[in-house]
Amino acid sequence: MADFMFLLLAVFTVGCALAMVCLRNSVNAAMCLLLCLAGVAGLMVQLDAFLLAFLLILIYAGAVMALFLFIIMLLDLRVGAPISRKNIGLVSGFFSGALLIAGVASLIVHDRVALPAQSLPAPVGASLKGYADSLFTVYMLPIQVIGFLLLISMLGVIVLSQRTPHSE
């Protein structure tokens, strides 16, 4: 059952990702990315990371994709350019993508991906308490730094979106 669900979600996710890359229309591409993110969230549910699946839907599918769609509408880019006509771009894209997949495939085939135990360990990511424990003890400093990062990026966006005199 879990295997079937994994297969279904994997095919769905990869199909949506391919559609996103190939579609000309920016709005359609954004919608495909949204579906792809929903598929990844389903995979995370399969991996017992319920909170992360929820956050992925909330932050990515909710906030980030809404921002993308807003910008697409604002700039009126509904009919985008076709994918690169230059052969060099297509060829290099295919080659580099194939190389990436081949690298990971060789790791898997030669069994270099470490598997500590054959039996599946207990799902540690399933409980909220575990997240809170590590976020507020071991990862306290990174949390503070991330907070500053968000503040700085907010200031950066405000500065960037101001109308400067020479931008007219």
Binding site: M20, A49, G89
Partner: protein, 101 residues
């Protein structure tokens, strides 16, 4: 029968490669940016899978930070794209060649 770690890692590699292909091939800045997001999500999936199969919490916590950084990155990146559009009236990368020569 639960799917193996290898299946998840292979899937995340495929998603990452598709995103990378999109970054190289698309000419619309927004489409390139969406492909970048796909690459980030693929890396996230690999982290969650490794964390699950190793029975540790750290990968899951790392995904938190990735989500935060991605949100900040999207905000700043889209602001840059809007500023670029205001100035140059285009978001096609082959028309933005001020540094080419």
């Amino acid at each position: 029968m639960h799917p193996t770690l290898h299946a998840y890692v292979a899937l995340s590699a495929i998603l990452f490669a598709i995103g990378f292909f999109g970054v190289l091939v698309r000419r619309n800045t927004l489409a390139i940016f969406m492909s970048l997001e796909l690459m980030l999500v693929a890396a996230t999936l690999a982290l969650v899978a490794f964390s699950r199969f190793n029975g540790t919490e750290d990968g899951n916590v790392f995904v938190f930070f990735i989500l935060t950084v991605a949100a900040a990155e999207v905000a700043v990146g889209l602001a840059i794209i809007v500023a670029l559009f205001r100035r140059r009236q285009t978001v096609q990368v082959d028309q933005l060649s001020a540094l080419k020569n």
